[in-house]
């Protein structure tokens, strides 16, 4: 009960500040928190990246295993994306099967990877109809201070960009490195009192009624979108959010994903 009351006070506080053009942490409306990307830190994973956006921390690990292709795509590799909202990351995360938030998070990141065709799935074919590489992208949220999607998506593509293919382990031969041909970047904005803010921290996420994630590739094409939250958005607000999405994705890509 005490926590709820605090939430309400915080919400008003956030609203009032934004009304006067300020954010809780002093950022501009179109400004991201500090981002850091550390790659290849988990040796047992074929690819990995630790992404921090402000105080949000997400660790993504990529593992490859040979497996059976889907019957309707016999010569294509398989991508499986999963997210865990690990209980230590927030007092609101409980152990147990994936809840709707972790399912949604995984599926949004997956959408971006698939839509951008970042992984050439046909290059993952080992034996058509029999054996292909399965790419497991596992998102491990370690600390939640808002905007898990952008951190997770950035972690996913950053991991994939330096993922080894463990041929030796399985007695196979082939390419050493996972062939990646796209760099999808997710940018999430929220609407609060008619204002559009990028990279919401936890307070802002809770205060906002609607959130929109826009995923785009290097060519400026849109590869995924997801509105979440219990509010509605005007078409003009969506247009602004898409513009911000494209602009910020370009900045993030150039700064963190160019090897």
């Amino acid at each position: 009960m005490g926590f709820e009351i605090m939430e309400d006070i915080r919400k008003d506080y956030v609203y009032d500040l934004i009304g006067s053009g300020k954010r809780v942490d002093g950022r501009g409306f179109r400004e991201y928190r500090e981002i850091s990307v550390e790659r290849d830190l988990i040796k047992n994973a074929e690819g990995s990246a630790l992404v921090k956006i402000g105080d949000t921390v997400v660790l993504v690990g990529v593992k490859l295993e040979p497996g059976e292709p889907f019957p309707d795509a016999p010569n294509q590799g398989v991508i499986m994306t999963n997210a865990e909202l690990v209980p230590m990351a927030s007092p609101d995360f409980e152990p147990g099967p994936p809840d709707e938030n972790s399912v949604e998070l995984a599926r949004i990141v997956d959408r971006g990877i698939r839509g951008s065709e970042a992984i050439d799935l046909e290059k993952l074919c080992i034996e058509a109809g029999e054996k292909v590489w399965m790419v497991f992208i596992d998102i491990h949220v370690l600390d939640n201070d808002g905007n898990l999607v952008d951190a997770a998506a950035l972690g996913a593509i950053a991991s994939l960009l330096n993922t080894r293919i463990p041929n030796e382990k399985y007695g196979l031969t082939g390419e050493d490195v996972l062939p990646i041909r796209g760099t999808p970047v997710a940018v999430t904005t929220v609407e609060i009192g008619g204002n559009i803010l990028v990279d919401p921290n936890l307070y802002e996420e809770n205060a906002a009624a609607s959130k929109l994630t826009v995923i785009s590739n290097a060519a400026g094409a849109l590869n995924g979108m997801q509105k979440s939250g219990s509010g509605g958005l005007k078409v003009e607000e969506i247009a602004e959010m898409v513009d911000i999405g494209l602009e910020k994705a370009k900045e993030i890509r150039e700064k963190y994903l160019v090897t």
């Binding site: 709707e100 979440s228 219990s230 509605g232 958005l233 078409v235 969506i238």
Partner: protein, 243 residues
């Protein structure tokens, strides 16, 4: 995937529709006896039923909200609804669809009227041909109104996509499987407010804008159909009264 499948032949889609044409829609209000509100909805070959129970007591108690009703939405596909039998029970796709659908309807429900209660929305897909989540939201809107739930507006929903490079309205399953983009949208017709927006595949910014415009205008047409179904329900529910 072998051969390229042509989804547009001679300017027409596989099922003969034009690029901006909706599949036929059928709406029946109040088809279930036990539910507080219900609606059967057909969108082309999609057949879905939405049922609303509530407001009713919310269990477990600790999930109650002291100030307002809690809306719950469960989207579920019957095992026989798709070509390759779907194992019963919620899968990850259903979990996500349930979430975004609930968030599509939440903005219009006046929850403050029924504190501490639950409003349960159940959507069952009986037959699927792409677009089931949009059919579900359309049906759920009508079922909520029929149940007497206080709402600001009805919500209407449809998907747009891209096939063979063309932006088209209301994808069928083949178009969804072999197309280049899929974007389900939900909207409040009266205020032009978008309450659900998802996209996967590839859209240029301009294609996205065109698609959104197409979707919103189709939603307005669907709204008229939803409204008519509700209004006409009363002109036919007058039973054999006269002796």
């Amino acid at each position: 995937m072998g051969e390229e499948i042509k989804l547009i032949k001679d300017g027409k889609r596989l099922d003969g529709r034009g690029f901006e044409e909706l599949r036929p829609i059928k709406i029946e209000v109040g088809i279930l006896k036990r539910a507080d509100g219900s609606c059967y909805f057909e969108l082309g070959n999609n057949k879905v039923i939405a049922a609303v129970y509530g407001p009713r007591e919310m269990h477990p108690r600790h999930f109650q909200d002291a100030k307002m009703a809690v809306v719950k939405y469960r989207y579920n596909m019957a095992p026989f609804s798709v070509d390759d039998r779907k194992r019963p029970g919620p899968d990850r796709r259903s979990v996500e669809i349930s979430k975004v659908s609930r968030e599509a309807l939440d903005p219009v429900i006046i929850k403050e009227y029924y504190p501490k209660t639950a409003i349960d929305v159940y959507v069952e897909v009986l037959q699927s041909d792409a677009g089931t989540r949009t059919a579900g939201i359309n049906a759920a809107s009508v079922a909520l109104a029929a149940a007497g739930i206080p709402m600001r507006d009805l919500v209407s929903s449809i998907a747009v996509g891209k096939i063979d490079g063309e932006v088209v309205l209301d994808l069928s399953a083949a178009e969804d499987n072999y197309g280049e983009a899929d974007m389900p949208v939900a909207m409040v017709a009266r205020t032009n407010t978008i309450t659900m927006l998802q996209m996967d595949g590839q859209f240029s910014k301009e294609e996205f804008e065109r698609g959104l415009k197409l979707a919103t205008s189709a939603c307005r047409k669907i709204y008229e159909l939803q409204r008519t179904a509700l209004v006409e329900k009363y002109s036919e529910s007058v039973g054999e009264g006269e002796a």
